[in-house]
Subunit: 408 residues, 2 copies
DNA sequence: TCATATTGTTAAAAGACTTAACAAAATAGA
DNA sequence: TCTATTTTGTTAAGTCTTTTAACAATATGA
């Protein structure tokens, strides 16, 4: 039961039905390809005549491609298979991180093209955008126009104002009130640019990926554990943005209001317990609060090396990771109690040690979830090689073509 | 950008456009009444011809009523005013609480009819349903059929399974796995019955109320502070239910995982800090954990009497309330960080002391919200006389007529 | 009184789903 | 091999809706 917003509704026009059904057909071709018109008519519970008309429109627009099928299945006329058609324009995905930025190209259906490229991050926004432009041009083979490039999706760790296209605050990049969209427009002209927060982008990557089982999940949460903790919430197939586009900050919900200090200024945030920095600090026996000069060996310790130590039977390293696992689970329990999603995805370097941590995490979840059913929530690890941030950045450009039209 | 769920979509049929526009027209009549067809055509940005057809349908179905307007505004022909038409059938709203149950009638537009009736609660579910049937019959004047009664909305504090219509667990009522819907069907035959959790119902009451300023808010959170803490989240005009209909349980997100024990079995839940019981315990200097026999004077202490004492300059009472205010604010900060709603509504007995608590609450919010803008979130108190739970119960029956059709 | 403006209705046009009929193609079985 | 059957995809007519345009009914101001 959804309420119609009397100040922001959309009337059904003469072409609205077609628009709706076209997107449904496109979605089903995407998830079921190869698929025939007859199959579609059964999936959509409508007649073949309607499907013919819808598909013809998609063919004309080049969104869909036909192919003769060789093998027949049954008695009658051989069906013709329909596939998503990847058009010539490529989407550019950018992931901006502390010391490096990453670039990936995808075709218009969201499939990766070529390898992921990384290049050093410049602290100065203008300088960064210039080097970015150079990298994008290179990746696209020198050309840079709106026919070869369908758009650029940029993922930034931090708080964004999507209205003005500014980075309000990114602790990781040490950026404040950077007018990133304007800077990029100067370099990229009329090419479409979308910004997104990294936690939200990760959530998008899962929603819009076409993979057997996950396809039907429209209520998920993505938790990304790294230097900070980013979270993206999807309810009813749509990202929860909130009034200021800051929804999802589970990382700053406290585990204990008197806990260790967090980068945000408050105490005891979940992030202060489970970020990579927190885990490493725990290994060295100090709290994050400890502001003394970092010892040499500590500054070189990464979460990856810590995991390696744990696997080499370093008891202290394993204990630090187990602690993080427990706190991770306690926080996940809050997510389950508040959102009750169909699945939680977890990304970040620490997932490399999931085999060591899983049982601890799950026990902690059970400890604080309200019912046993909730305690058995579905959890999936997203390894770093899947590049969820980059896939989310690409989805910013490629997904709108498949999205539901706004209606009522 | 909403993803279409390939396993649960709804195709646009021949009549879907009409269905959509009909609901939009109805919504606008509801929020703007009295309103003319010409006004509607301007609000909807369509032509008067279309509005005539839509309104005629609404008139035929008896959802809308015409009235000649006496005063003309301007030059031409006098417009005819359109109003929502309340039909003969009444909605019955039931609020089940620990010691009492409450009953309210509303007309089909959701407006209260008559007074709120209260009757003693029976611990045994079957017995309760029998006494409920008697009360409903009495309130409706003896008759009880589907023409006089549009449906019954029942609000229960606890976890519900809406698929089977069962109360999974209600600590307040001490009910477990009560098949409430089946019991009620036996008493009420073919009359429509809807169950809802009390926190969620409160949120519905605000979404579906027609009041000047709040009408356009489609992203809100309702926090109900009582014996427990109930929370309802509305995103995009729709209640966030989650996979098991348990979403919204902010009451069991911890302020401190090592905090006082909570009725749910975990430690340090928000509820354990701000529920009325917690506040009263704090007044007596003991934690909720204290399981010793309750002293006489304490068992008779209610939150209302505590507020009265605070107003009479009882320092200990005021301190207990201020403590609760601070914890309330700290928890609200989490809600703001996670959901970033347009407004938070707060209900419960403690709101009677809002003038004493407001500044403490707001300071606490600022302490833990991520940006200053978020710290100034819009907060509204909902006093008990507005009966949010009962209004939410009524909305379960009356609101679907105004809801957006499910599409795509 | 007349010109003008506004409201609400009606008829025809155009767009989209639906139904029904049909041609094309492939298989099973006589 | 031929025929009946089945399945696929298309086409034309039918129906429902929005849209456009024209028109009648009021009401006001000059």
């Amino acid at each position: 039961m959804r309420k119609i917003n009397p100040r922001d509704f959309k009337l059904a026009r003469r072409g609205t039905s077609r628009e709706i059904n076209r997107q449904i057909a496109l979605t089903l071709i995407r998830t079921h390809q190869p698929v025939s018109r007859a199959d579609l008519s059964r999936l959509m519970e409508t007649n073949r005549a309607n499907v013919t008309l819808l598909v013809n429109e998609l063919l004309e627009e080049g969104l869909v491609r036909e192919e003769e099928q060789n093998e027949s299945n049954g008695r009658g006329r051989k069906p013709t298979s329909l596939f998503l058609n990847s058009r010539e324009s490529l989407a550019v995905a950018i992931d901006v991180r502390k010391t490096k930025a990453f670039l990936m190209l995808t075709d218009s259906t969201g499939r990766q093209v070529g390898d992921v490229i990384s290049f050093p991050m410049k602290p100065d926004p203008s300088e960064f955008v210039r080097s970015l432009a150079w990298q994008v041009r290179k990746a696209l083979g020198g050309t840079l126009d709106s026919t070869s490039c369908g758009g650029i999706g940029v993922v930034v760790p931090g708080m964004l104002d999507l209205r003005n296209g500014t980075v309000i605050h990114s602790p990781t990049l040490r950026w404040r009130n950077v007018e990133l969209l304007d800077l990029m427009k100067q370099e990229f002209g009329d090419i479409e640019i979308h910004l997104e927060n990294s936690g939200k982008a990760c959530a998008l990557s899962q929603i819009w990926s076409v993979r057997g089982d996950g396809t039907a999940l429209n209520d998920i949460v993505f938790v990304s554990v790294s230097d900070g903790v980013g979270v993206g919430i999807v309810v009813n197939g749509e990202l929860v943005r909130g009034r200021h586009n800051t929804a999802g900050e589970f990382g700053h919900v406290p585990l204990s209001i008197d806990g260790p200090p967090c980068a945000c200024g408050a105490n005891g945030c979940w992030e202060a317990y489970i970020s990579n920095i927190a885990t490493i600090s725990r290994y060295f026996g100090s709290s994050v609060a400890d502001r003394r000069p970092v010892p040499v060996e500590r500054s070189e310790c990464t979460i990856e090396s810590l995991i390696a130590k744990a696997r080499a039977n370093d008891g202290k390293a394993l204990a630090a990771l187990q602690s993080t696992a427990r706190y991770l689970g306690l926080g996940l329990a809050s997510i389950i109690n508040v959102i009750d999603p169909s699945r939680i995805y977890i990304g970040g370097e620490i997932t490399e040690a999931w085999d060591l941590l899983e049982s601890t995490v799950k026990d902690a979840i059970k400890e604080r979830t309200l019912s046993s059913e909730l305690g058995e929530a579905s959890i999936r690890i997203v390894p770093a090689i899947e590049f969820p941030r980059l896939k989310g950045a690409a989805a910013l450009i490629t997904a709108p073509a498949f999205a539901a039209p706004k209606v009522a």
